[in-house]
């Protein structure tokens, strides 16, 4: 017999048999927009309270993000690309109820594997080398997430803890690689040698840093959306996330199997993000290769309410925010950590509103 809080809802029924929902699906997006407005006001408040030249700071923010072709094609979209990969990784995991907060570690594993393979296959033609390199990144990300998945399914280890801890392990692994087996031959700098041009992702626009990775990520966003909404396997992912008991009992779904697949798919997406970053932007492996994309990913995915197509927009927004914040620091002396503050506010805002909504449903 089950023991649980009185959450079966009210006794209220309209004549047509429908119990009123406190917030309808469309209302969620209104709430999201409201969160945005609150956050913008908070940022303005911080700027003014800090005694900064607010108009100048805001102008720098805008110009740094969208003000010029350079801002858009060499800053905003370049930063949005890895965010889109890891945002999708977190999004698909959360949809299945897998709280993978280790996209950072999976991205690093993907970047490390991509560079390692890239150094080995540099002599091959691009058409052969690039798929190998990207495949290695995806595989490494999968394997890294797979460790947490195995721990969860075999021993019941909470993935929130294992994926988070594995982030640190991955970061130190990268440190060791770039000071040890993969270090450049002069042994001066803690980084690898630059990858051969045959394993560089081609630029999309001549003279700008934007690379093919963005198209790959957009393709994956659409594919993820299609997978979740149109395939049986994607439906199982959503069912396990939304109601594991009913998925098992009414659907005959094996939740462990679905969960395992989600760990691997999520890790692969993050790993690809790392590979795309290494072959499209940095062309080498070094310690600071990710400024915390894997952590921002959580905010990216939550703001988009885990919807793969909306994740494209939120990744763009966060890419712009980070690019703009860098410009704001240069031009108006506002610390760029403001971007992190905004990310944190977004996560808190989304969670707080979700909480209100959940409570509203039952009273």
């Amino acid at each position: 017999m089950t023991t649980r809080p009185d959450a079966t809802g009210s006794d209220i029924v309209r004549p047509d048999g429908v119990r009123p929902a406190a917030a309808r699906p469309d209302a969620r997006w209104v709430i999201t927009a409201a969160t945005g407005v609150v956050i913008i006001l908070a940022v303005l408040g911080i700027l003014m309270a800090g005694g900064y030249d607010t108009p100048r700071a805001l102008a720098a923010l805008w110009n740094g993000a969208f003000g010029s072709p350079y801002a858009l094609f060499s800053a905003t979209l370049v930063r949005a690309t890895p965010l889109l990969f890891v945002g999708l990784a977190v999004g698909i995991a959360f949809r299945a109820g897998v709280l993978n907060i280790g996209a950072e570690g999976q991205l690093l594993a993907g970047a490390a594997a991509a560079v390692a393979v890239g150094l080995a296959v540099g002599a091959f033609p691009s058409l052969v080398a690039l798929p190998l390199v990207l495949g290695a990144g995806a595989l490494a990300g999968s394997a890294w997430a797979g460790i947490a998945g195995w721990l969860k399914l075999r021993f019941g280890v909470l993935e929130v803890i294992s994926t988070l801890m594995l982030n640190f392990v991955a970061a130190y692994l990268v440190s060791w690689l770039v000071r040890g087996p993969l270090q450049e031959p002069t042994r001066v700098y803690p980084q690898t040698v630059e990858l051969a041009p045959s394993v560089h992702l081609p630029a999309l626009i001549t003279g700008h840093r934007l690379h093919l990775g963005l198209l790959l990520a957009i393709g994956l966003a659409v594919a993820t959306w299609w997978f979740l909404t149109h395939t049986a396997a994607g439906f199982r992912v959503r069912a396990v996330g939304a109601g594991i008991g009913a998925a098992r009992s009414a659907g005959g779904i094996n939740p462990s199997r679905t969960t395992a697949l989600v760990f691997l798919a999520s890790g692969a997406l993050a790993g690809l993000g790392g590979a795309s970053e290494a072959t499209g932007v940095t062309f080498a492996l070094y310690e600071g290769i990710s400024p915390g994309y894997g952590y921002s990913a959580i905010a990216v995915a939550l703001l988009a309410r885990l919807h793969p197509l909306a994740i494209m927009l939120s990744a763009l927004l966060f890419g712009a925010l980070e690019a703009g914040a860098a410009a704001m620091q240069r031009d108006a002396n506002v610390p760029s950590v403001l971007a992190s503050v905004v990310e944190a506010l977004i996560v808190l805002g989304v969670l707080a509103f979700d909480h209100t909504r959940a409570r509203g449903r039952y009273t």
């Binding site: 017999m1 006794d11 209220i12 109601g243 998925a247 009992s249 659907g251």
Partner: protein
Amino acid sequence: MSDSALALEAIDKRFGEVQALRGASLTVRRGTLHAVLGENGAGKTTLMRIAFGLMPADAGSVRIDGTPVTLASGADAIRRGLGMVHQHFTLVPAMTAAENIALGGRGRLELRAVAERVHALGERTGLRVDPSARVASLGVGAQQRVEILKALYSNARVLILDEPTAVLTPPESEELFAWLRRFVAEGGTVVLVTHKLREALAVADDVTVLRRGECVLTAPAAHLDMIALVRAVTGDEATEPFSMPDIEARAGSPPPTIPRTRNRGPCVARLAGVSARDARGVERVREVTVDCFAGEIIGLAGVEGSGVHELLRLLAGRLAPSGGVATLPPRIGFIPEDRLRDAVIEEFTLTENVALRGAGRRRGRMPWPALASLTAGLMERHDVRAPSPATRAGALSGGNQQKFVVGRELDEHPTLVVAENPVRGLDIRATTHVLRELACSAEAGSAVVFYSADIDELLPLADRMLVVFAGRVREVPVERTAVANALVGAA
């Protein structure tokens, strides 16, 4: 001092477009047992939640012992001597009975003192519970006693019980009512929210009936009979025999005849010497042999902990046997007891919930247009009232959700139907509908296994009765005393 222990006057409550309560009033005299009746959605639970301070009313007043009060929370209500036992218990399974009872306390926690007080309270009131037992290990009846003790521990003088017998077996229900009568005789006050009219007539001093948010009847139980209650509850004049199996059986008249040919077909499912363990590895079913024949309804009874739930899951193919051989047909319809946990996903649409069936084996793409029209047809055939197949399942009332589940599981004429407490918590109309669906399913050639915690629901429908006791199954005659005796292991 007023002689009303609890009085709600002209309560209005609106949820969005829905007027849940319309000037509802309820006066509970001190030292009485007051039954509140009504269909699902009549506003019973809302009224009780307002009385207990769990939600504010839009208009109207609440008085406790004649004093107008504004209750901000359940804790407020408890301080003023109210206690509530919810339909779904609010206990922490991993904690002991004493720890659960101590939960609402303040300051230093002295568990031994709490346990002693609980023990003494149990001795004094007759609600015996082992204070050191983990709640998860207690049966449903014992969990309910813990809930009541929790209320009494905070000195509740007015107890509100929401559908307390929904999960109890008949002997447990009788025990509960005997206890409630004693509590009332000693000056306590009880508000009993229930669907079961016979129950209300048998134990209540006063009865209030809610319909569509309004109080349509308040009278001493002695002045009422079943017919008057049915009319008040449904607002209907018509009472055709088969539409009211619930009422007829409870009113003590002969069980309604079900228009069935009762042709027993071939054996479609067989458990041969099957044993099974629960999630904790305890053997619950011991070398049981059961044959299910096409076209028959097997009534299954068993108290909590007897292994009846494991047996149902074995038959439904949801639990693998630890020994013996289970031969089951490929198409099985399963209606589990805990709908929101095991049958529907509230945030999914109805179409998605239909798609859930067989999702584990499905390959390739989801045929959404076909699934949507299947859902629309299913809603039509099984009287599921919702705007469209794209409505979220969570937006439906409990009765409609259950009709939806029954429809989904029966629509493709499964070879075997396993129904676990399928009418628990449903109002008369939904109950009738579900029972009729089960009967029709058997008529159409399915083997039906129907378990209910309420013998009176089983007897009119069952062709055979099986009773589970201590992990073993016994076939008994389809009659009340035989079943009641077998339930407790008596010959």
